[in-house]
C-alpha cells in the first residue's frame, strides 16, 4: 500500500542511464549488474516522476509539483503516481524512506 505522505527514493541497488532516448534501469542483484537478466525502461511520464524521487519530498509534494507542471488534476496525477510507485516498489527499484 502506497502512502502518499511518505518519502520514497530510488534504490541504491541499481544503475539508471539515459539510453537511446529512454531511461534504462539495471537492478543490481548481490552487487552484480546482470545484463543477461531483465532490465527496465520508463516512458517519459515515468521519468518525470522518477526524477522527483530525490528522497526529500513526500509523494504528496511530488504529485502537487507534477500537477502544477503539467496542468493536470491532482487526483489524476495521484492515481498515476501511486500505480507507478506500487510497481517500482514491487520490482525493488524504489524504497520507502
Amino acid at each position: 500500500m502506497i502512502d502518499i505522505y511518505s518519502i520514497y527514493c530510488v534504490s541504491e541497488d541499481l544503475v539508471a542511464r539515459n539510453i537511446e532516448g529512454e531511461l534504462v534501469i539495471v537492478p543490481l542483484s548481490s552487487g552484480i549488474g546482470d545484463l543477461t537478466s531483465e532490465m527496465y525502461s520508463l516512458n517519459t511520464t515515468g521519468v518525470a516522476i522518477w526524477e522527483k524521487l530525490d528522497g526529500k519530498k513526500d509523494l504528496k509534494n511530488i504529485i502537487t509539483q507534477i500537477a502544477d507542471e503539467y496542468d493536470t488534476s491532482w487526483d489524476e496525477i495521484k492515481d498515476d503516481v501511486v500505480i507507478l510507485i506500487t510497481d517500482l516498489v514491487k520490482k525493488g527499484l524504489v524504497t520507502k524512506k
Binding site: V15, I19, E20, I32, G33, D34, L35, E38, M39
Partner: protein
C-alpha cells in the same frame, strides 16, 4: 501527460554503444557485470552468446594476456579483446580470431577485464588463467592461434 509505464528491456535490443554506456556506468560503481557476448572475434575462448563476467579494474592494472573491455573514446564502441602487448600508458588489443589487431588504446579506455567465461570449454578457462594468458597473448599476436583455430574450425565445424 500520458500514463506512466515501466517496461522490461533486454540487452539484445541495445546497440554496441549503448551496452558500452551501461558497462561504463556499472564499472564506475565498481560493480561486476554479467553479459552475453556477441560475435566470434574472441572465438574459441569466448563464443557468441557465452556469458561473460566483467570485473571493474579497481586497483588492478591490466596486463598482457588479459581479455579486457575497451571503450573507444572516439566512437564509444565496446571491444572485448585480449591485450597482446602492454606499453606504459597504452595497450594493444586483438581478437584471438582476428588477423589484425585493433590498434592501441589508452589505459583509460580499459574499463574492465574478463573474470569468467561461462561455457563448457576448458579452453576458455585456460585462456584467461594467470599461468597461460601470456602464452595465449603471444599465440594471438603472431596469429598462430588465429590460423590454428580457423583451420580446426574448418575441419570440425
Amino acid at each position: 501527460m500520458g500514463e506512466p509505464s515501466i517496461s522490461t528491456k533486454n540487452v539484445i535490443e541495445f546497440s554496441n554503444v549503448s551496452v558500452g554506456i551501461l558497462i561504463k556506468a556499472l564499472t564506475r560503481k565498481k560493480k561486476t557485470i554479467r553479459l552475453k557476448a556477441r560475435g566470434i572475434s574472441m572465438f574459441p575462448a569466448i563464443r557468441n552468446k557465452d556469458i561473460i563476467t566483467i570485473a571493474p579494474l579497481n586497483d588492478y592494472e591490466p596486463e598482457t594476456g588479459d581479455i579486457v573491455v575497451c571503450i573507444d573514446k572516439s566512437n564509444q564502441n565496446v571491444v572485448i579483446h585480449r591485450i597482446i602487448k602492454k606499453f606504459e600508458n597504452t595497450v594493444k588489443t586483438k581478437g584471438d580470431f582476428c588477423f589484425l589487431s585493433d590498434g592501441i588504446y589508452p589505459l583509460e579506455s580499459v574499463t574492465g577485464y574478463i573474470l569468467k567465461i561461462e561455457n563448457d570449454l576448458k579452453f576458455s578457462y585456460f585462456s584467461i588463467n594467470i599461468r597461460y594468458k601470456k602464452l595465449f597473448a603471444f599465440l594471438s599476436r603472431v596469429n598462430v592461434l588465429t590460423f590454428a583455430v580457423r583451420f580446426l574450425k574448418k575441419i570440425y565445424l
